[in-house]
């Protein structure tokens, strides 16, 4: 019973993570990973700064959405 419940929880978590990925919710985590991996000397943007920068860049670089 509890293993079944655990499997359901795991499945739900996986789905939520997937949906988050599709929406782009993990963008900051990925940015941090990139920042760390590429060995920049400057500190990374804070979460707030990152999201501001992200949407502000879209102002001058719109992404198409289809019909």
């Amino acid at each position: 019973m509890s293993t079944g419940l655990a499997a359901v929880t795991r499945g739900f978590r996986g789905f939520a993570r997937y949906l988050g990925g599709v929406l782009g919710a993990d963008a900051y985590t990925k940015y941090l990973e990139h920042h760390q991996a590429s060995g920049h000397n400057t500190p990374p943007l804070s979460e707030r700064e990152f999201w501001r920068d992200r949407t502000d860049r879209q102002d001058s670089n719109p992404q198409g959405r289809c019909c």
């Binding site: 599709v22 990139h34 999201w51 949407t55 102002d59 198409g64 019909c67």
Partner: protein, 766 residues
Amino acid sequence: MAGTPDHRRSATRGEGAVATDTSLPPSAIDETVREAEEKKWTPGKVALWAAIALLGGVAWFMLAIIRGETVNAIWFVFASVCTYLIGYRFYSKVIERYITRPDDRRATPAEYKADGKDYVRTDRNVLFGHHFAAIAGAGPLVGPVLAAQMGYLPGTIWIIIGVVLAGAVQDYLVMFFSMRRGGRSLGQMAREELGVIGGTAALVATLLIMVIIVAILALVVVNALAESPWGVFSVGMTIPIALFMGVYLRFLRPGKVMEVSLIGFVLLMAAIIGGGMVAQTQWGVDIFTLDRVTIAWGLIVYGFIAAILPVWLLLAPRDYLSTFMKIGVIVMLALAIIVVRPEITVPAFSEFASRENGPVFPGALFPFLFVTIACGALSGFHALISSGTTPKLVEKERQTRFIGYGGMLMESFVAIMALLAAISIDRGLYFAMNSPAALTGGTVETAATWVNSLGLSGVNLSPNLLSETAANVGEESIVSRTGGAPTLAVGLAHIMQQFIGGTAMMAFWYHFAIMFEALFILTAVDAGTRVARFMLQDSIGNFVPKFKEASWRPGAWLCTAVMVGAWGAVLLMGVTDPLGGINTLFPLFGIANQLLAAIALAVCLAIVAKQGTFKYLWIVALPLAFAAVVTITASYQKIFSPTPAVGYFANNAAFSKALADGKTEFGTAKSVAAMEAVVRNTAIQGWLSVIFVVLSIIVIATALLATVNAFRSRAHGTAVKDNEDPARPSRVFAPAGLIPTPAERELMAEWDKVPAELRFERAGHH
């Protein structure tokens, strides 16, 4: 769109010349191992594919040959899914093997241009969802509904076969070629491959096509919301909800995208339920019952404001909502169809399949069915998404087949489900909803009389059914609710109420469907206006450099106003058209969309020819020829047909003559003003058709010229310059498809053993 062209040439270019790091495991599966794995047909594998082929064959047999009194919806699901699987497994493999020839040893732009922002390696399954959400919108939900006029079979065949041989091929090729060029846009690729004339024609055509597409999508929303206080309230509420989400993400809890999407979703449901309550009050009806012209103006004003507001405030949060809804709705609809399995009573070919005076859209099956269903079978607009955005996120070259080809198959399946929803409702109801008010007369009695007078087999519509259905879905009337969205909503409500909630829930499901369609369309209108505005700014910037500065407000506002003015004018034309806007304008939408597809395929043709792949050029030439023949024939008929219902100029002449003769009403136009409107509208529509087709012919001609030149150069042994970015070695590995193969699993295990700091270290990065 961005993507810095990189013209540097490298001596180490070409296949097999990429030096990979020997301290790391290989970044690609060994070619011979992969070949062997693919060619090895175990008994299990043979049995599986035989079963898929058999099931698909039986399903097609049930749909196309047996065509009993009724046919179960599940056969559509089997026929489509089995055909997609076979197309994906076999046809896209042929394209991969002979045309794209991906090389996983080469780094993708997401790897060699990695910046943690625009260029980010993304898990293939996540990117599949992301790409799908970007390409699929209201288009595949609307076209198939209108095409149901001809019966279920023509639309079904075109959606399924069209996607396998044309639509998915275009998406895959454009995505792959853009990826090899650092994520360049279709416009940039057209300029590079076709030269100045072809490139400029492609740019102008794209701009005009975007105007038409945005205008007609907006028309669908207007038609769905007109005289519907419930719809106006709940769709209107999406604006404050999105604004709240925008502020929440910017100032309260930045980055909590999932959280805010869930909050937004709950508020959205509350808005739908609240809309039902508001629509029952007198004040609610007084405030929110708006006519079509008022809604159109509202949409135009909204479109302008939305396009100049910062992205974070409205566009980004609504995009989250829209994506969230898209995935939810599609999963739900698929489940409902599989569980409910409605019986379809619509004939395979209707009476209108062999005529050209159908009330929903005029014209003969060929070519007009093929332009009415654009999205879902072959959609040129996808080329704008498949180039630019997605290629910057692809992790490995081989994954483009899964994401590009597979993503489009998924959209095709959405189109099949929309078709099913439309044909699961009563046929008389369908024609009463989708024919212009000029024909139905607008009341339940006149509509029922008119539909019954059409002489359709098995159709006996009672006024009662019309008023009862309207009451069930919480609308004043459903007569002449053209545009496809209301019909889809009724169909969906009809299926969903059998799944969850019964008749009592029908009104909720109807408005739920209207809500998500409006949400998709508003997002597309916003994004389309912005993209078009930037294209215009860029083009004017060639003459007045100041316009190239995106941050220069007067320029941005002026260009936004021009674009909104352009689509707004077409929208108003459609809304006030006495002939019923969808009826006259929707063919233009399909033609525009597929001319864009022809342009994209023409660019691909030139690229494939320059690669020297002449033997398999037919893979691109086939869909290109089909799209060119369909759209040019359709345009030709729209321009030159002597039948007023089909030809814009014939109609124009008929109405001009009537005016000259001093008539005060003619055909469906009941006043001189209406007659003058028809004369004006048909002239504009006619000339738009002329401009589209001329531009497209220029693009196709330059592409053919580039192809012939490439062939000649090859024959002379001169090298043809290609515009790919130089190959760089990849330092990562990821499987190509949904399920990793045994060899891929083995290699992944090897990579898992590599210490993390070695795996992510990137040479030469600043």
